[in-house]
Symmetry: C2
Subunit: 190 residues, 2 copies
Amino acid sequence: MDTTEADGRLLDAAESLFYEHGVQAVGMDRIRTASGVSLKRLYQRFPSKDVLVEAYLRRRDGRWRGALAAYVAERPSAAERPLAVFDWLEEWFAEPDFRGCAFINAYGELGTASPAVAGAVRDHKAEVLRYLHGLVRDAGAAEPGPVAEQLAVLADGAITTAAITGTPAPARSAREAASAVLKAAGVAQR
Amino acid sequence: MDTTEADGRLLDAAESLFYEHGVQAVGMDRIRTASGVSLKRLYQRFPSKDVLVEAYLRRRDGRWRGALAAYVAERPSAAERPLAVFDWLEEWFAEPDFRGCAFINAYGELGTASPAVAGAVRDHKAEVLRYLHGLVRDAGAAEPGPVAEQLAVLADGAITTAAITGTPAPARSAREAASAVLKAAGVAQR
DNA sequence: GAAACGAGAGAACGATCGTTCTCCATCATT
DNA sequence: AATGATGGAGAACGATCGTTCTCTCGTTTC
């Protein structure tokens, strides 16, 4: 097993375990068992749990935004793309292992204690906001900044509400609210 | 020190420590030190950490909703009360010890492991939704249910976004979005 | 073929966790 | 004054944490 494969297996194990059970509830030994990578190699690649947690979050950030962007980009017209975000959220919420936003969860658990984790979480939210800003601008909003911030709030609210209630319904509520926001901002809806 | 005072001091210590650092990061010994209540008495009143965490959440639920309702009730007209919720949020976000939603944070940390905690969190969110439903109905919305759900999503999103970015600004974004939602629902705004 | 190395398995370490127990001082009751 | 219950301070317990170390073995290199 070469280094890149070991990294992948470690991050796969870290992601599924940390996301499902929370970070503090999962010990390094459990990641070793789940990944099949020895403890020695684990600490060679990620010299502390904090580093592993940050790497998990940063890889998840890239994949999560990539999946969202790929879904949204399939919509032919720029005007409907902002609302497509909430359609993607609804599909995500319905997945059986959905457990809320990994970044919000990690921030609540470690935001106080770990600056590295707090930074990764803030970077993720900033990138999502930047992405939404582009969508809203391309959809023709006169002032994309405030609208994008409102959509970001709606997305985060939908994620946490869906996690706690256990249903995908909040995605539709958020989509309706987003529709009202876009209409008020002068973006034509179909 | 009688029983009710011991309970109060324990819950005060639990609330400030759990809320600031997260539940798993705070040991029972630290609660003993902060409260000045002996470990023996602590376990007499709260026979396990799980019970203490649930009690902390349920007391905070009552106080939090009480403070919100008291603030909103001061608005003279029912039509402006739904938006007053977001004004209250903005004041809360500006408090120096604001660290996001205690319930979302606890759910992310313990929702998988502790049914008692998960139940307290779900109860809190259900009560908030019920309260918003009353506000929206009294403001004259034709269909208060969907509107209340949208406001609940906005409130949760504002809380988490404010916690991560560290600014109270998301309250204003959520308020703007709520205004658009209410207008679309036919509720007159000033 | 021998020597040096790298990696895996898992024991070991010190710290800390939730929880219980021991010891002793205090106080109300006989 | 003697007794018994109560509660506080904190040691103790077993478990588990993150991290390091030991031991062994297969591989590589001269």
